[in-house]
């Protein structure tokens, strides 16, 4: 799993590198006529997403201690927080004043956030499988590999959001 995360991280870095590479060649960024994405709402939801690592961490600890109730509650809460974040992204995309086909700025914005969204969906599916397994009593104090793997991946998706957020949301405001 660590190896997979390493190579996934390289995908994100390649895209983020592309973002700054293209940006370096542009006179104004975002291009004229496009507003940088507003920060207010996304900051709140960023805390929701990053916060979801906490219940995930509970679930992991509960699994190690063999408390199956804690595992289920932690996974479910993390799932809900991830889903709320995802829903907000979908809603927000409708309100942005640019699409992926207008300019390279839009293409990059949607490629990076979209890739993160796809990872989040994979995380939600994996989390779901783990919840079903937990409900059917497939784990105990010694058998909880699925929880560990899901949790590791979940933390990765959260952590990489910090990079994505800094790039596509913060950087147009900070670096002018």
């Amino acid at each position: 799993m660590w190896m997979l995360i390493l190579t996934e991280l390289m995908i994100f870095l390649s895209l983020i590198g592309s973002y700054f590479y293209v940006r370096a060649g542009e006179a104004s960024w975002p291009p004229p006529g496009i507003e940088a994405p507003p920060l207010g709402r996304i900051v709140v939801f960023t805390f929701v997403l990053l916060g979801s690592s906490v219940p995930m961490w509970w679930a992991e600890r509960a699994a190690r201690a063999g408390r199956m109730g804690g595992v289920q509650a932690g996974l479910a809460l993390a799932w809900a927080m991830g889903a709320v974040f995802f829903a907000n992204q979908v809603v927000e995309f409708r309100h942005l004043g640019f699409g992926p086909r207008d300019t390279v700025y839009g293409s990059l914005f949607y490629a990076i956030t979209g890739l993160h969204g796809a990872h989040l969906v994979v995380g939600l599916v994996m989390n779901g499988v783990a919840q079903v397994k937990a409900a059917l009593g497939k784990f105990d104090g010694g058998r909880h590999l699925t929880v560990d793997v899901v949790s590791l991946y979940w933390h990765f998706v959260d952590a990489v959001w910090i990079l994505v957020f800094s790039t596509v949301y913060l950087s147009p405001h900070l670096l002018r």
Partner: protein, 627 residues
Amino acid sequence: MTTTLEPAGQAEPAEEQVEVVWHDAPGLVGFLTSVDHKRIGMRYISTAFVFFFLAGVQALVMRVQLAGPNESVLSPRTYNELFTMHGTSMIFLFNTPVLAGFGNYLLPLQLGTRDMAFPRLNAFSYWVFALAGTFMYLGEFIGRAPDAGWFAYVPLSARAFSPGVNLDFWGLGVIFVGVSTTVGAVNFIVTIFKMRAPGMSLSRMPVFSWSILVMAFMVLFAVPALTVGTALLEADRLFGTAFYDPSRGGDVLLYQHLFWFWGHPEVYILLVPAMGMISMIVPTFARARLAGYVWVVTSLVGIGFVSFGLWVHHMFATGIPPQALGFFSAASMTISIPSGTLIFAWIATLWRGSVRWSTPLLFCLGFASIFVMGGITGVMVAALPFDLQAHDTYFVVAHFHYVLVGGVVFPIFAGLYFWLPKMTGRLLSEGLGTWSFWTMFTGFHLGFFPQHILGLMGMPRRVYTYDAGLGWDTLNLLSTIGGFLFGLGTLLTVVNIVRSRKRGAPAGPNPWEADSLEWSVPSPAPHYNFLTVPVVDGRHPLWSVPAGGASGALQRATPLTAGLEAEPEPEIMEVPEETYVPFLTAVGLAIVVVGLLVEQAVVGVVGLVVALAALGVWLWRTDGDLQ
């Protein structure tokens, strides 16, 4: 499954009992479901060789067209398709997977374990490769082969200039085959870190296994850039995004950066395992220990690092700032230091030993001489002023064929002659092998040496014909003759292999008196590899005392070890039974790719459902395996 290791030195289990536990279905069912790393490895090798011969035929047809001035065997369009598919096949569908095949077959045997860390993932990786290769060739069969060169630069490869579906076969196929390479790399790394035989510390690991480790890490860092580069290209082509469209602020050079950030390390992703093979074969036939084991391993790792600082040297002619060019030019020359170290280590090994001549060694020496010449022209094109002259001429074509054919294909043939007896249990004929080598060696130089001169005379690459009276005629004709001679040489090896299946002498466990663990088991290796897992006490296990050790053979399981010193862990790993799941997951992905190609969302969704369902079953069954 938590089971404690039995103490070392227990009695060996009976072979018949073990055979029952490690059954592997025969026939078509076995073909689709096997998770045995040896079957998968051999399948990788044979599938890759199919693509090798397809690429060879394409090359020869091109050489016929170029044999004389103003020939009209091929239309310009067909010529473009042929050189695109030739390059694509050789890089993506032959060199990379054939080395993965050797890695798959040999790694568990060299490490003294019974399978890869993720056997089903291994099967999946093979199926993705086979389906991706088939997918890329679909275009050829329906007369719409990709035609923008094997690196498909934008804007030529953009929708506006390549309107047909041709390029989509290439772009989607490259992304698809990248999945296989990445998954394979993860598997190699985990296998090396978790499954070495007890006592095989990293400093005792065979050099070939080391080279696979370096290669796998390079893949993890490099392939994502290719995936992103081609995914953005396909997004532009299929969904109308603007990544490479300057009229909407996009940047065509971005594609070249992303492509070569993978593309240059890729050369070393191929070279490093090839050099690993050489480092196993040379000491065996020199009958001496490899000179400077630590230096050799350090050089391989060094090549891995430096290769990431070179990519811009493919782009010297694109108008990049001179400071950057200076840096990349210097870095490009630096790589000759670790490469040179390796060459001297092999020479020193031969010098110290008492050499026994045989076909694998011949191919090693052929490799070394050709590769050194490719290295010298490499230093030449790394020098900026020279590169600006030679760029996009036949000089570059000659250079990279010296590096890739000399540096990778020759070692692969050496590896075939060396390890095939282990895989089939039959020795190849030395006589035919020697003939094959000299035909290939002569044909190679006759084919490619004149191309250096042609390049210096100004012949550009990728032209489908040329005028008479430029002084290029004789050299081109020689090159064509050489190409056919080389092809004949490879066919001699095929004849040799086919002949050996019936008439080859039995190989026995260790025909070459080599030192690594794969030679301690019968040839062909049994499904379970090792009846008792060996305990390793040095770099040359078979040249010191053979040792018996921990088992697990009767539980279809293999021990796990941890840390640099490979200390046994209290738990063992169960090796999964045969399963259709990896095949079905790969088929699902293939359907997704076809859906993107024909731009039908329904097909894509069907593929996604198949893949996810298969993946669900896979995850569901996982907890029992690795605990």
